[in-house]
């Protein structure tokens, strides 16, 4: 046990078991061997008995004269007469006395005889007739050899046929092996997971199905982890890049303050430092939210009414922007299964976007049924809108529109897009009826009741 588990890598390759084909051939050979032996033994027993019976039947006592005549015609016969006074050999060697009527095997002078004793033609006389068993034994041995020969041929034939047929039977397995050997560990996310097929036997098909299912699982798993890895890497790069800008301003300002302690515009510089610091903070918050949303299936889902979502978002907006007029439309009575935190954050970002970059004085929150059966939440503002050509691009991370006002992280709309994607929908930027920008956050039909 210990010694086996201590086998070191690089040692001799593990001994391969015999091939399935060989095992099938051996099995069929072995099975036929058992049959052949049984049949052979039985045949041999029956043959011996039959030959002995024939011999016994030939030992029919008759008159000594007849017997003498008969015996003289056959060299293998011996006849001995026993009277009350004398014993007389009619032919052949003298045979011993055997129980009357029962055929018996005896050895006479080194020769095996089958003898039978019967009452003679005259009372008091016993006739013992015997025949050598050589012929019979030779015949039996002959037949036995024949049976043995046939048996060997049958076993060889069975093994050979087993080998042949097993070859056909294991062909699907061979195909399966060949296919599995061509699979490499690399997973290309753009390519569907490979499907293994091995039609021909139920076992191989089941094995192929199991293998395909396992590959699909592996593929999906690897794809997920690759996506997470990419997301994390992009996130880290973007975060570094994005934080450097306000940090540059901060560092410059601090150096100025250090080099010119009596600067008249000291207060203004300090305000700038504070603003840059706030930017760093806001960017970090947005990055954190973005990272949380990137995690697969993060957070729990709540079943909430659309009206409640809008009401909460409106409260958030009024709290964050006291000067902003917030109007809530009467929404359809629908229940949606969503991450409430995520949706509130997305809607809050839409409102911030309207105020900060649109210069909006009022926003209108609404909802309507989507074309696909989902629900569309809308945030309309009366701000300066966004050129149609930029509407696609600003949904990307760290992209700011040309009309963007105060500095932002460039992440607000990206956060909304992320939440929409998380809820099986998408974000669209359109012209609002009120003249500004409309942010439409669609929620997929499978999330809407």
């Amino acid at each position: 046990m210990t010694r086996r588990s201590a086998a070191r890598p690089g040692g001799p390759a593990p001994r391969r078991s015999a091939s399935l084909r060989l095992r099938v051939a051996l099995a069929s050979g072995l099975a036929s061997l058992v049959v052949v032996v049984l049949v052979g033994v039985l045949a041999s027993v029956l043959l011996t008995r039959e030959q002995t019976d024939r011999l016994d039947r030939s030992l029919v006592p008759g008159s000594p004269a007849v017997l003498g005549t008969f015996a003289s015609t056959r060299a293998d016969l011996a006849v001995t007469l026993r009277g009350p006074s004398a014993t007389r050999r009619v032919s052949g060697p003298e045979l011993p006395l055997s129980p009357v009527g029962i055929p018996t095997s005896v050895d006479v002078g080194g020769v095996a005889y089958r003898i039978r004793t019967a009452p003679g033609p005259t009372p008091g006389v016993l006739v013992t007739v015997g025949a050598t068993e050589d012929d019979t034994r030779a015949r039996v041995a002959d037949r036995q050899r024949l049976v043995l020969g046939l048996g060997v041929v049958a076993v060889a034939l069975a093994a050979g046929l087993g080998w042949l047929f097993a070859g056909r039977a294991v062909r699907p397995m061979r195909r399966l092996t060949a296919q599995a050997a061509t699979l490499d560990g690399a997973v290309d996310p753009d390519v569907d997971p490979p499907v293994v097929r091995a039609d021909g036997s139920r076992e191989s098909e089941e094995l192929a199905d199991a293998l395909s299912a396992m590959l699909a699982r592996l593929h999906a798993e690897q794809e997920r982890s690759t996506a997470s890895l990419h997301a994390a890497r992009d996130f880290a790069a973007a975060a570094r890049h994005e934080l450097r800008t306000p940090l540059t301003a901060m560092r410059t300002d601090l150096e100025v303050l250090q080099a010119h302690p009596d600067l008249p515009e000291r207060e203004a510089v300090l305000a700038d430092v504070q603003r840059a610091q706030a930017r760093v903070e806001a960017t970090l918050t947005a990055l954190g939210q973005l990272a949380a949303g990137d995690l697969p299936d993060s957070g729990e889902l709540d079943a909430v009414g659309v009206a409640d979502v809008l009401r909460l978002a409106a409260e958030d907006a009024r709290r964050a922007h006291p000067e902003l007029a917030v109007v809530v439309d009467e929404p359809p009575e629908r229940t949606i299964t969503v991450s409430l935190e995520g949706l509130r954050m997305a809607l809050a970002n839409a409102v911030v976007n309207a105020v900060r970059h649109g210069g909006a004085g009022s926003v209108r929150l609404g909802a309507h049924a989507g074309e696909d059966g989902g629900v569309v939440l809308t945030v309309d503002d009366d701000g300066r809108g966004l050129p149609a050509s930029e509407r696609e691009a600003v949904l990307g991370r760290f992209v700011r529109g040309s009309t963007a006002g105060a500095p932002g992280s460039g992440l607000g709309l990206a956060l909304i897009a992320q939440q929409a994607a998380r809820h099986g929908g998408e974000v669209r930027l359109e012209d609002a009826p009120s003249g500004g920008l409309r942010v439409s956050l669609a929620i997929g039909p499978d999330r809407a009741g």
Partner: protein, 236 residues
């Protein structure tokens, strides 16, 4: 700030906070600062009056910093350009400097460092190079021929197109053929940085030179002497 002798500096940066900070910081450091927030604005400012030096953010929206450098050099403006990058990947440095910028700094950087480098670059800009060429002056080393009067470089029969800073680096290396020059010495001779500064700009430019000189399979001329610096010589 009102000093008429103050060098005219153009700061091109799209981020309002950074732009304001740089304007203030550089002005307090004795420069006359103008600023632009995008590429076209920068080119307009240059067209108005050619500045003595340019501080250029690479990550401008629309026309980016590389395009601005390329346009400046295409218009034969030789002003020193220091690019600012918010990324620390080598690629960004390559594109900015390859287009003809003289130096780069990665955000966030020390203002004093930027000021020191700008002053050095400006000194080099007004003062004739220590090796002012006279007509017919030719520096040759192996297959390399530098015509100082025409500012042309040939490797064998092939003409090699170099940016200003690449050319100056090559001239210094060729004039000192077989002499190992440290990075510090090269920074001083080519960039005028006679102060300690933490930059690998020499390595980046040596990389460009090698790529251009060895484009057709010419054996390496500019060799790295590990732990010391660089030397131009034929063979190993």
């Amino acid at each position: 700030m009102s000093d008429p002798a103050a060098p005219d500096l153009l700061v091109v940066e799209d981020d309002a906070d950074v732009r304001a900070s740089l304007e203030r910081g550089l002005a307090l450091s004795g420069f006359a600062v103008r600023s632009a927030q995008d590429g076209p604005g920068a080119l307009r400012a240059v067209h108005e009056r050619v500045p003595d030096a340019v501080v250029l953010d690479l990550g401008l929206p629309g026309m980016d910093g590389v395009a601005v450098v390329t346009a400046l050099r295409a218009m034969d403006h030789d002003v020193p350009v220091c690019v600012l990058s918010a990324r620390d990947t080598v690629d960004d440095r390559v594109v900015g400097l390859e287009a003809g910028a003289d130096d780069y700094m990665v955000k966030p950087f020390a203002l004093t460092e930027l000021v020191a480098r700008l002053r050095a670059l400006l000194r080099r800009g007004v003062r004739p190079a220590p090796s002012a060429p006279s007509d017919g002056d030719v520096v040759a080393a192996g297959p390399l021929r530098i015509d100082l009067a025409r500012r042309t470089v040939h490797v064998g029969e092939r003409s090699v197109d170099l940016t200003k800073r690449e050319y100056e680096l090559l001239v210094v290396l060729a004039r000192n053929a077989d002499v190992v020059l440290t990075r510090e010495r090269l920074l001083e001779l080519v960039w005028g940085y006679d102060f300690a500064t933490d930059t690998n700009v020499v390595d980046v430019f040596v990389g460009y030179l090698r790529r251009k000189l060895e484009a057709d399979g010419t054996p390496r001329l500019v060799h790295t002497v590990r732990g010391v610096g660089f030397v131009l010589r034929e063979g190993g």
